[in-house]
Symmetry: C2
Subunit: 482 residues, 2 copies
């Protein structure tokens, strides 16, 4: 039997294009050599394919999957967050000083200093921030996380989330809603007044309700929200609804008067993003226990300060690997465009780091109305994240993927090897201080973060390999091709 030749082209599309131009049917495989063929990266990848690394990653992912985040209470940041002082300003992302801060982070710092009474005007606040008298530090270095600017100052109320599997804790402020809010860099009087109301009225009532509840199981709420079309980063309508159902009976049973309960209910229910400030510390306390495991290539932090994107990796401890914060592709609110957008900002990528958020977009197709794209795009993003991750989380199942576990635990090696970057969906802040949110969309981390981390991991003092590396790689290739 005579048939036409069947052609597969791998790698450079040049040959496929030439054949296609002659009318041939060509299947093109979009392949690149690991690490883009960079010799240093390839060497590091080869060195890190070894039992010590697998064992370290196994230990790290087991701790991550075993985490049981529970909302156990609230407190005042300066009293409960380790290392906070009255002049500490925590912020999102990797370390940064005032001179390098982008507009929305500067705006939120100004708002935080006004809220603390450390300054009486925008000008005073900016001068104080530039003076060296304020101690700026990443939330992530104080067991905390904050969306967008992520500013936390000493007298702000924070949620306390405990990982019941390891007794470690994480902290986050109360989500203020959309529009002109501190986390988007707004600091108008209405913003400060809302923060004061949260501290004086909302916080005491909610703290009492959380304490009366005996703890609210955030793992269970996230699991249910994932079955209700949330991905728990940019879509939190279900999570917020389920939190309302969990907390309202305890608000009603508490000592707050009826008007205060009604105001608290209206505040939570008026903001579908309320649950974000609970899903974030839930992921933070889950990932922190997987951090600092020698040789592990698990990414434990992805965070942005509006100027730089930074990651931290379990095996390299507290070192940050950074690159420039990227522009977000997405949908803008009426009257705004890309020209208004600040680069990527916020600790909210802790959700993707923990396996939810953008990693679960395919399970939350309604989100494309907020961040752009189609339901099929969202599904493709989720499926591609399985190539980067160490596990599928049996606690977070995705009905749209017939209850497959969420792709969980980014492996630096797989990111560099595949050239595929983690997907993050996120809000877009105006680039000027004082404005606020202008849209939402999708973004990737800069590739350089992962390449630097891989090289640092490869440079570690690992024992020499006992097997011939080339032979091992050939064996692996044969296994993959069967």
């Amino acid at each position: 039997m005579i048939t036409e030749p069947r052609i597969i082209n791998i790698g450079a599309p040049l040959f496929a294009d030439a054949l296609a131009a002659q009318g041939a049917t060509v299947l093109h495989v979009d392949w690149q050599p690991p690490g883009g063929g960079d010799a240093g990266l390839v060497a590091a990848l080869a060195k890190l394919e070894r039992p010590e690394v697998e064992a370290a990653n196994q230990a790290a992912i087991e701790r991550l999957l075993a985490a049981r985040p529970v909302l156990i209470g609230m407190g005042i940041a300066g009293e409960v967050i380790p290392g906070m002082t009255s002049t500490t300003v925590l912020h999102a992302g990797p370390p940064i000083q005032w001179a390098q801060m982008s507009g929305p982070l500067r705006g939120a710092v100004i708002g935080g200093l006004l809220y603390e009474g450390l300054a009486q005007s925008e000008e005073e606040a900016a001068a104080l921030a530039a003076s060296g008298e304020i101690h700026f530090a990443p939330c992530h270095e104080h067991s905390a996380v904050g969306p967008m600017a992520g500013v936390v100052t000493a007298s702000m109320p924070v949620f306390i989330v405990e990982n019941r599997a390891a007794d470690n804790r994480a902290y986050a402020t109360v989500n203020e809603g959309l529009g002109k809010v501190l986390r988007y860099g707004a600091y108008a009087p209405e913003v400060i007044e809302r923060l004061r109301w949260i501290g004086a009225s909302f916080y005491p009532a909610l703290r009492e309700a959380i304490e009366r509840s005996g703890g609210i199981d955030l793992q269970a709420l996230i699991a249910q929200a994932l079955h209700m079309g949330d991905e728990c980063h940019n879509r939190n309508r279900a999570g917020t609804s389920l939190f309302i159902r969990a907390i309202t009976p305890h608000l009603l049973a508490g000592s707050a008067d009826r008007a205060t309960v009604a105001q608290a209910f209206a505040f939570i229910s008026g903001n579908d993003h309320f649950f974000l400030n609970l899903s974030m510390p839930a992921m933070k306390c889950s990932l922190d226990v997987a951090h600092n495991i020698p040789h592990s290539t698990l990414v434990t932090t992805m965070a942005r300060n509006g100027t730089e994107f930074g990651i931290r990796v379990s095996g390299t401890g507290d070192r940050w690997f950074t690159g420039p914060a990227q522009q977000i592709r997405g949908l803008f609110f009426p009257g705004y465009s890309e020209a208004d957008a600040n680069p990527d900002i916020g600790d909210s990528a802790i959700t993707e780091t923990g396996g939810i958020g953008g990693f679960c977009m395919g399970n939350a197709p309604a989100i494309v109305g907020f961040v752009g794209g189609t339901a099929a795009d969202a599904l493709r993003y989720t499926l591609s994240m399985y190539d980067l991750t160490l596990a599928e989380n049996p606690a977070f199942t995705l009905p749209a993927l017939n209850f497959r576990g969420a792709p969980t635990g980014i492996d630096v090696r797989r990111v560099v090897e595949s050239g595929v970057l983690p997907i993050i969906n996120t809000g877009i802040a105006h680039r000027e201080p004082g404005v606020g949110m202008v849209g939402a969309g999708l973004v990737h981390p800069p590739r350089a973060c992962f390449e630097q981390a891989l090289l640092a991991l490869g440079a570690e003092n690992l024992e020499p390999r006992t097997q011939n590396l080339e032979e091992e790689q050939r064996t692996k290739n044969r296994a993959q091709s069967t």
Copy 2:
């Protein structure tokens, strides 16, 4: 160029099987002649493919899609439902008398008579029900709908849902929760006590809250719930959550004391099916305005009394077309099996009749954990319903299908022509009175309902066709094959 023959077999699989046995590659198309080849059905189908029918269906579907169901209040059944008397017992499904009733419907009738004080014991109630002194009538004939047994008696509180596009109304009782409840045929003292608490405490508080709200837009809540993994028949967790968010501020602002508000909140929040008794009357008042349009082949009712399944069609008015209620395939609660199951019962198929429920299963994959099957099965069911329906509802979009409108408005012609039956997902009642729910699953109506309806529509006094029917059919076939 020489290639192997490419074989397509249509219809009877015999030829395909014979060729496959010889090693040939055969594509088999599972085709049947319209109406299974029955001459009477084929003649009726041919007669009903005409402009008068298309115009009637267009008018009917426009009214259905234009409906704006709003929860405007509550009232006592005997005071607000047209035609109710103190000895009326409304029930689910087509008309039925005591002697023909299945176990769960009998149990609910007994419970209703005990609740009304018309009987003091099970025996007295059964004797009264059999005496001829009770007027049994379908909910559907009194602008009402009830899940499962669907029993409504004169002093029960009911929701009042108004279609603001046409000012007609529909009514439904309050969903009691799961387990031992009246609608599943239970009538133990705890069941009657819960009904009394609903009437004495829950109803006054909720009625006031609904009135204070100025009306709750059920179309908007259903649209949002469909974006949150509900299909609004057997999965109502999102709808219930959204209703809680809509009503609680008005409960708090009303005159009910704090303990009553707390009890009301706990009752609603304790039952993820609460919203079913709102999605059902929302669909009922939307479909009622599409009923009674001469020549329309739109199905306006699908309902089951536990013994028979009945449908009504717009063009044939108040006539029921019935067949035996079917056994449900699904998942059973621990300790129960198919042997315990009553045949299909309840008016809840009004959701599928209106284009939601089982018709939107593909958009609510988490439901397969409750009714069985896989997410892919659920998607296939939804896609197949587009073949039976007259429209895609722009108000109810399905994110999982990239925001395609829900398949809405069953056309009797398409059901008979294709041989595909509407899919319904539903609860399973124990076959004995007094037990309750034992599982949930999937079911189809009996084919006979649609065949009878088609023949009745075909027998109508339609003007003779102006065109040659065979020629028209050939033209249509040519158009379809291009």
